[in-house]
């Protein structure tokens, strides 16, 4: 049987995080009353003209630079013509022959740790369409144009992927980069990042590309993986049976976990692209591009390398912290204030992320980084033990007070008063004659138990060094 090789290229649509739409000042915002964010421009009334949103272009350029693209000083808008009720103008303003960005690349790692370069053919800007609703109507559709005219960028790769792991790594990295740059929130489930893979297979060792299938309706990372894997199997079985593959568009059915035919190539749309006469060519002067390059946020990879060095963290910890820009931002703000990277990292990865996971986001987490830093400082200076610190942290979740004030109010500070500790030690020794005897007979381990009992008696607040010393002294004394 022939051994096949997978060949995949992907197209990604990403919604740009601007405040207003691409060609009009309507708010770029979701969840509003239907058609609340519309105006004559995005409703395509006669006589209106589009004006480009500067921030949308800036975000696109930012993404292009991060993906090592050439940013073209001149690009052009084009009309993509098709009729559908979600597109009031009868055409979508997009880019065709002259996109803003070309010739980029991103390195990916597959499951064996092998690195390969994926070439990015182009990144262009375009407007999104509106939304059709079908619920509760039988004879037609309802149209909400709040999304019509909001800015999208389309990223197109070359067919350079040879494994599903590479696609997965690419999408993960891309999402992270776009989130770090605040260009797109990268939410595939909600459709703010949509991915369409072109999938084909060919006998291993051959050069010619096989017949490709474009897969739509992918709305999670998992669906991307499953969808591609499914297509590889489907196409392999067909070729093995001697059947011919057709170039077609298929949809992914997440529930059935299978792809279904949407249309074959012969039915492909004829979009009759042409330059949009309403918009002059898009000219980006090199000074502006340079300015964007200089003010671009630190990217995930260099940022990870830096925090490993700066805070003395290991690779695994840095991976966890850098997985989201909101987490690494939180960590760095706290670590700088606390003056202890390692300890802060442990707290962020432990208590903070655990509490966030239980509900909410790190952005809205009630313990802001400066308060966490104060808590870490209290541990560092020996004012409270780490056990007590967890108790204080619990209280901070519902109290706006500083950890210092909480420690004060709850009487949680470390007790280093020797008299008070000595009293507790004396009690423990009188309550545990058997353990004291065992220790004196040479069972050193028992000391841990006795100190533990002492700490319990002191409600976790005893200075551990003093408690240790006094307990040892007292036990030794009882030998006599």
């Amino acid at each position: 049987m022939t051994e096949y090789e997978l060949v995949v290229g992907i197209e990604i649509h990403a919604q740009l995080l601007t405040k207003s739409k691409l060609f009009c000042a309507c708010p770029n915002r979701f969840g509003d009353r239907p058609n609340a964010n519309t105006c004559p421009v995005c409703l395509a009334h006669p006589g209106v003209l589009p004006v480009v949103n500067r921030a949308a272009i800036e975000k696109l350029v930012k993404a292009g630079l991060a993906l090592n693209c050439k940013v073209n000083e001149i690009s052009r808008f084009a009309r993509k013509n098709y009729f559908y009720p979600d597109l009031p103008k009868g055409y979508q303003i997009s880019q065709y022959e002259m996109p803003v960005c070309t010739d980029g690349r991103l390195d990916v790692t597959d499951s064996d740790g092998k690195q390969r370069t994926i070439r990015i053919r182009r990144i262009h800007i375009e407007e999104d369409a509106g939304k059709l609703l079908h619920e509760g109507v039988r004879s037609g559709s309802l149209v909400d144009l709040n999304r019509a005219g909001t800015p999208l960028m389309e990223i197109v790769t070359e067919p350079d992927f040879r494994s599903v792991d590479e696609v997965y790594d690419f999408l993960t990295q891309l999402r992270r980069i776009l989130r770090y740059l605040k260009v797109c929130d990268g939410n595939m489930e909600e459709g703010s990042m949509r991915c369409e893979p072109n999938i084909s297979i060919r006998p291993r060792g051959t050069e010619a590309l096989g017949v490709k299938v474009e897969l739509k309706n992918i709305n999670s990372f998992k669906a991307a993986r499953r969808g591609i894997e499914y297509e590889v199997i489907r196409q392999t079985l067909m070729l093995d049976r001697g059947e011919k593959l057709r170039q077609e568009t298929r949809g992914w059915d997440e529930n059935k976990e299978e792809s279904f035919l949407m249309r074959v190539k012969e039915d492909a749309h004829d979009y009759r692209y042409f330059p949009d006469p309403d918009l002059p060519p898009l000219k980006l002067d090199s000074a502006w591009i340079e300015e964007i390059r200089k003010t671009t946020e630190e990217l995930p990879r260099p940022r990870k390398e830096r925090i490993i060095k700066e805070y003395g963290l290991n690779e695994a910890d840095a991976d966890v912290l850098c997985s989201e820009f909101a987490i690494i931002d939180y960590f760095e703000t706290a670590a700088r204030k606390a003056g202890d990277g390692k300890l802060t990292a442990n707290w962020v990865m432990g208590e903070v992320l655990r509490a966030v996971k239980a509900g909410g986001t790190i952005e809205s987490f009630p313990v802001r980084p400066d308060r966490l830093a104060e808590l870490v400082k209290l541990i560092r200076t020996g004012r409270i033990s780490s056990t007590i610190a967890k108790k204080v942290f619990e209280l901070m979740l519902t109290s706006p007070n500083s950890p210092e004030a909480i420690v004060e109010a709850e009487g949680l500070g470390i007790v280093s008063d020797e008299k008070a500790i000595a009293e507790a030690v004396a009690l423990i020794i009188s309550e545990n004659p058997e353990q004291v005897r065992q220790f004196l007979e040479g069972k050193d381990k028992v000391m841990g138990f006795l100190v533990g009992q002492g700490m319990k008696k002191m409600k976790g607040k005893a200075d551990p060094a003093i408690l240790n010393r006094l307990m040892k002294e007292a036990v030794e004394k009882s030998r006599a």
Binding site: T18, K19, S20, A25, C26, P27, N28, R29, R33, P34, N35, A36, N37, T38, C39, L43, V51, V52, N53, R54, A55, A56, I57, I74, K80, N81, Y82, F83, Y84, P85, D86, L87, Q92, A129, L133, V137, S139, G140, S141, L142, V143, D144, L145, K216, D270, R272, P280, P281, L282, K283, L284
Partner: protein
């Protein structure tokens, strides 16, 4: 050459067979005019808009549009704040 029926389909026009040849001639004339324009030597002319020094951008400042009712009610048919359109099957998506 072009296929007048295909163009009609793309434009969502229902073309009657008896008007086909007349329309074909008209479209051919229009295209002929464009072809005549294309024969002009423009090698010394800079592209449209390329000489314009500064691009015209809009700042990213959203403007609230208020009650959608005013904009929706001009439609032939509505349902609440939504436009109503007849059923469309099997076409569309970009």
């Amino acid at each position: 050459m072009f296929d007048i029926q295909k163009i009609a389909k793309l434009a969502r026009l229902n073309l009657k067979p008896e008007t086909e040849s007349e329309l074909s001639t008209q479209v051919k004339n229009i295209l002929g005019y464009v072809e005549a324009l294309q024969a002009v030597d423009t090698s010394t002319v800079e592209g449209y808009g390329l000489s314009d020094a500064s691009p015209h951008f809009r700042p990213d400042e959203p403007v609230e549009r208020g009650d959608p009712e005013l904009r929706v009610r001009i439609s032939a048919r509505t349902q609440g704040d939504l436009f109503f359109v007849p059923k469309v099957i099997g076409e569309g998506d970009a």
